[in-house]
Amino acid sequence: MIDWLLKRFPALLMARRNIGRTKVRSVLAALGIVIGVIAIASLGMFGLTLRYQITENFDDIANQVTVEPNRDGRQAPTAISEREVRDIRRIAGTSASVVPLQQQRAPVSLDRGPPQNRFMYAVDSPAGVYEASEGTIPENFRSGALVGQQLAMEYDLEPGSSISINGSTTRVRAILAPGGTVGFLPTANVVVVPTTMFQQRTYSQVIVQAEDSQAANETAMALREQLNDRRDRFTVDDNADLADQIGETFQALNLFLLGIGSISLLVAGVSILNVMLMSTVERRQEIGVLRAVGFQKRDVLKIMLSEAVLLGVVGGIVGVVFSMIAGGLINHFMLDDALLAFRPDNFLYVGLAFAFGVGTSLLSGLYPAWKAANERPVDALRS
């Protein structure tokens, strides 16, 4: 395979032999590229991982739109009616899940002790916004209750435990997965019950869970426009600003990290330039001979550039291998899962770093190669 390549591209043969001639120097030059590639790839992956870690927690919020009666509006209703919920469903479209919430306050006992008054949510379809860490969340929520993880820990609850709400005993169907906030109550501390528990036809809040933050933003705008018919009857909140801000911050951070990585590649480029210049000076006569026996300028250019690119490719490949190891470590320590290093985004950075590495070598090789190719053979052969 390599033999075939060398036969097919004789410039590579010359380049390989020349690199072999000054092994230590070539290894050092390639090492510069290795370090540069690792720096760019792992800093890029570090930024991505950081963003991944943070947005994972923010994702739910960023994709949510909440609709509530406008508390300051004089003509505003105090609650959201069934009809308005249907309007919201229509506006949000089929890809979003719309979950109307009732905010209730009732005496609750989680530990068979005396009941305490507690805020809770009454929901028809909790599966749209909540996830379970234990047990399952029913699609059609008619009985039982869902409990946040922190409460469950505090009162030693698990699916099947019985609690008492409003004087009647009911069973815990699921413990909610931690993270995120739905409505105003943090998921970890919430109790969720079916709407059938209270005889009420209106809702205090509607949560629209969109597919992504952009869809959430669009839905929020549509809702503001269509639901309010110019009077501010409802407040529509989305967290698109927050999502945007997080996105922008991380973009800036990543650019900064890439900038730092690029400096190391710049240094690597200078060292390749240096090695190639030394090599052209040392091989002046040799190149003169090549030109004399019929090598065109571009042939010499090809040989010298192959040399630079070969250094870059070898350095780049080694750099990529080490970068993947570094990526695995970063993901292991930050996300507890080394395999997350194989996310496509990460490969983008690794590929980018490799391309930068080879590109840097090529650029650094240009001047020495040009210089070698344009030397007049008579002059080269005199020295």
């Binding site: 006569q285 065109q296 008579v378 052969l381």
Partner: protein
């Protein structure tokens, strides 16, 4: 084959101008074996560079196969060199990273010609180096390197061979072997021009020209006594093969 007409070569160094060749008329026919002799600094290498299309004269013309090649583009010039001219340099100038065989293949490296390897082996065997094919230059003696250099100059089957001191590094026996090889290739209509200080060469050449201080005088082979140095005797290529002794 190749001809110079009233060629002048001036070098400008600093403020001074040095005239290395002062009007040279010289011609070589296919199959001729000519030696150029002269004291150091007389302009022999300068002339060889002009004949090898490595440099342009300051005045006058260089004609290759009757065509003026002064002032043609570098690409054209390189192509002509490759097609018609073989070089044997004084210091061999082998490429140290390549084996003997690869060094011989060098001028044809970018041709993608599958017969090159075979031809290179053939040439090296003719030079008596059949058992040194895969040796690097630093594993060869001076004479062996010289023979590799000669094999390299012949790989593209040139019609003109230019040699700067081809026997300078060789003992008498090896020198003779090389010179016989040169005579052999002149039989195939290749012209050979050798710059030399070695009287041995003159036993093989068809004629010898003398270069003194940028002027050329001409002589019949192995005369020993040379004509005036300032006379511009035109070189008539008519000397029909004195042949080797």
């Amino acid at each position: 084959m190749i001809e110079t007409r009233d060629v002048v070569k001036r070098y400008r160094t600093g403020g001074e101008t040095l005239t290395a060749l002062k009007g040279i008329d010289f011609a070589v026919e296919p199959g001729e074996f000519v030696s150029i002799m002269g004291p150091s600094g007389s302009g022999k290498t300068t002339l060889l560079n002009l004949l090898g299309l490595l440099d342009d004269p300051s005045e006058g013309e260089v004609l290759l196969d009757g065509e003026d090649v002064t002032g043609i583009s570098d690409t054209e010039r390189t192509r002509s060199r490759k097609r018609t001219i073989g070089f044997v340099f004084q210091n061999f100038y082998l490429i140290p990273t390549l084996t003997a065989r690869e060094n011989v293949e060098i001028p044809a490296l970018f041709d993608h010609d599958p017969t090159v390897e075979e031809r290179a082996v053939d040439l090296l065997e003719r030079m008596g180096l059949g058992d040194r094919l895969d040796h690097k230059p630093d594993e060869l003696s001076g004479g062996q390197k010289q023979r590799v250099a000669i094999a390299r100059s012949l790989i593209n089957e040139p019609r003109l061979l230019l040699a700067d001191e081809p026997t300078g590094n060789l003992d008498r026996a090896t020198g003779k072997q090389i010179l016989e090889e040169f005579v052999d290739i002149t039989d195939r209509d290749v012209a050979v021009i050798a710059v030399t200080h070695d009287e041995l060469v003159n036993e093989y050449v068809d004629r010898t020209v003398e270069l003194v201080d940028g002027y050329m005088g001409e002589d019949v082979p192995t005369d020993g006594e040379h004509a005036s140095d300032s006379a511009l005797s035109a070189s008539e290529p008519g000397s029909d093969g004195g042949g080797p002794p």
